[in-house]
Amino acid sequence: MINTSTFLCILRRSIVAGAVVAAAVVGPASANKDPVTPKQLKLYQEAFMEEVRKGDLLFHGDAAMKEQLGVKLSTTGWACAMCHPMASDTHPQAFPKFQASMAKFATLRDMINWCIEKPSQGEKIDPESEAMKALEAYITWSNSGSVLVPGKY
């Protein structure tokens, strides 16, 4: 017969095991219920900065990164940074807005694709692709001192 302390021990292990499984399945939702650790913060920041780094390389026309992410951002030698050094004049803080050059209400991702297709004469990229997220990460990171002014011309 199982005694009380053994039962409690099994119960405790089951709860821990269940929590581990649940954390693996549910992931970030559960992670947010625990106090964040410095180690976790570092990992989250590194994950973000890795995307910024990739976006920086794409933005500056790095051939290896374009190939790695399977994108053709220009066919003329052009790179985003040629009109937007340090991602200036990209104005991520002003999106979404009515974009006169597209004659529609647009997001930053719409604008990125418009620039790839028109001035850069490249091939539009999937708005959900890693390349798009990396470009968005770099552009927003570079402008992270700016104040949000959505809708501003």
Binding site: M49, V52, R53, D56, L57, H60, D62, T76, G77, W78, A81, M82, C83, H84, P85, M86, A87, S88, D89, H91, Q93, A94, S101, C115, K118, P119, W141, S142, N143, S144, G145, S146, V147, V149, K152, Y153
Partner: protein, 381 residues
């Protein structure tokens, strides 16, 4: 970065913008110049100043030429090979045709650097071929894009000495090389010529650093060149980079602007005309006026900080039109003591902003320097 820039800027103002020091006080101040000057005093916020700027496409600079004449300026064509990029070729062809069609013709053309994009032989030769249709006398100064693949070898074969001087109708002209004396960032890191060029060709790159400068040897040459020139006679100096400090992270400066000022200080009628910035730019520093020229290739945005207060900004361009925000210039040197720079911006009647919203800085931005080229293998130890 801002703190360091602020420090440099404060020093520049203390050295170059002392009370009572400005270009050529003895000459007439035109209405346009006067309006520009007035912006220095009082609270010149963006909103207030726009309302005061008149509708003008020219900048007046005072001079005393023996006889009126005009010359043309083309720069920053950034040519790739023809098979890769035809838009840049089309724009050079257009500029050449328009300069050739000037009536009366220009006395000469100044090409202000960055003929090529990546310094390749094919790119430089394409530039020569396209400019061949222009039959007036041509003078060339180099840009960094022309230089750092083979350290100026091909450029020298095509155009000769990068710095030069000549006199024309009472004006002494000087061409400077502000690109070839960049500190060596490539040897220790064992870069290939293509890698060296790639870093140099990235305006916002951090690896090539503050490469723009005149250099002590060339300053001595300029001093010697000017030694026999009357202090009150006009001098026009061409350079790829501006000869003052506007925005060092993009090399919108020369790092030895103090020494440049020392050499030019005794001369009262100095005008510097420069490329590199791909934008309308005007400043007065010490006894010199400085005028920035348009590219034919593409416009750079104004730097996030440091735009000279005397600059009336150019209009915000349409990125969907390859011919917008770019073009070439004529410079009229008149007998009535004026030099008139006219910006020929294709597709635009109004070169300058007409309202705050027309300025590319109407959306305030705070931006950071890039990171990817600060990491291995380009990181500094």
């Amino acid at each position: 970065m801002s703190d360091e820039l602020d420090r440099i800027r404060r020093e520049m103002h203390a050295v170059l913008q002392q009370p009572g020091v400005r270009p050529d006080d003895s000459l007439q101040i035109t209405r346009r110049t006067f309006i520009h000057r007035s912006l220095l005093f009082g609270a010149a916020s963006v909103g207030q100043t726009f309302a005061w700027w008149p509708l003008l496409n020219t900048i007046d600079v005072a001079h005393a030429a023996e006889a009126p004449f005009k010359f043309a300026w083309i720069s920053d064509t950034h040519l790739y090979e023809r098979s890769l990029n035809t838009r840049f070729v089309d724009k050079v062809v257009r500029a050449v045709q328009e300069v050739q069609a000037m009536d009366p013709p220009a006395d000469f053309l100044i090409f202000g650097g960055d003929l090529a994009q990546l310094g390749k032989i094919e790119e430089l030769e394409l530039g020569v071929e396209l400019l061949k249709d222009l039959t007036i006398k041509k003078y060339y100064i180099p840009g960094e894009h022309d230089w750092y693949l083979d350290m100026g070898q091909k450029w020298g074969e095509l155009f000769g000495q990068p710095n030069w001087t000549f006199d024309h109708k009472g004006v002494r002209f000087i061409g400077l090389d502000t690109v070839s004396r960049g500190p060596d960032y490539w040897t220790a890191k064992k870069m290939t010529p293509e890698e060296r060029m790639g870093h140099m060709a990235t305006l916002d790159g951090t690896v090539a650093g503050a490469w723009a400068g005149v250099g002590r040897d060339q300053l001595d040459w300029m001093q010697k060149t000017l030694a026999d020139w009357d202090k009150s006679k006009p001098i026009v100096i061409f350079s790829h980079n501006p000869l003052y400090e506007y925005y060092p992270p993009w090399n919108f400066w020369v790092r030895d602007w103090r020494e440049v000022n020392d050499v030019l200080k005794p001369y009262t009628k100095v005008t510097n005309i420069h490329g590199h910035v791909h934008q309308v730019l005007y400043n007065e520093i010490g006894s010199m006026r400085s005028i920035g020229m348009l590219a034919t290739s593409w416009p750079w945005p104004y730097a996030p900080e440091g735009l000279p207060k005397l600059t009336k900004p150019m209009i915000r361009v349409d990125p969907g039109d390859p011919f917008d925000g770019v073009g070439w210039e004529t410079v009229n040197v008149n007998a009535d003591d004026k030099v008139d720079v006219e910006y020929i911006m294709w597709g635009r009647k109004e070169v300058f902003v007409q309202s705050p919203e027309d300025h590319d800085k109407s959306i305030a931005e705070v931006i950071r320097s890039r990171i990817a080229d600060k990491q291995y293998p380009w990181a500094n130890p």
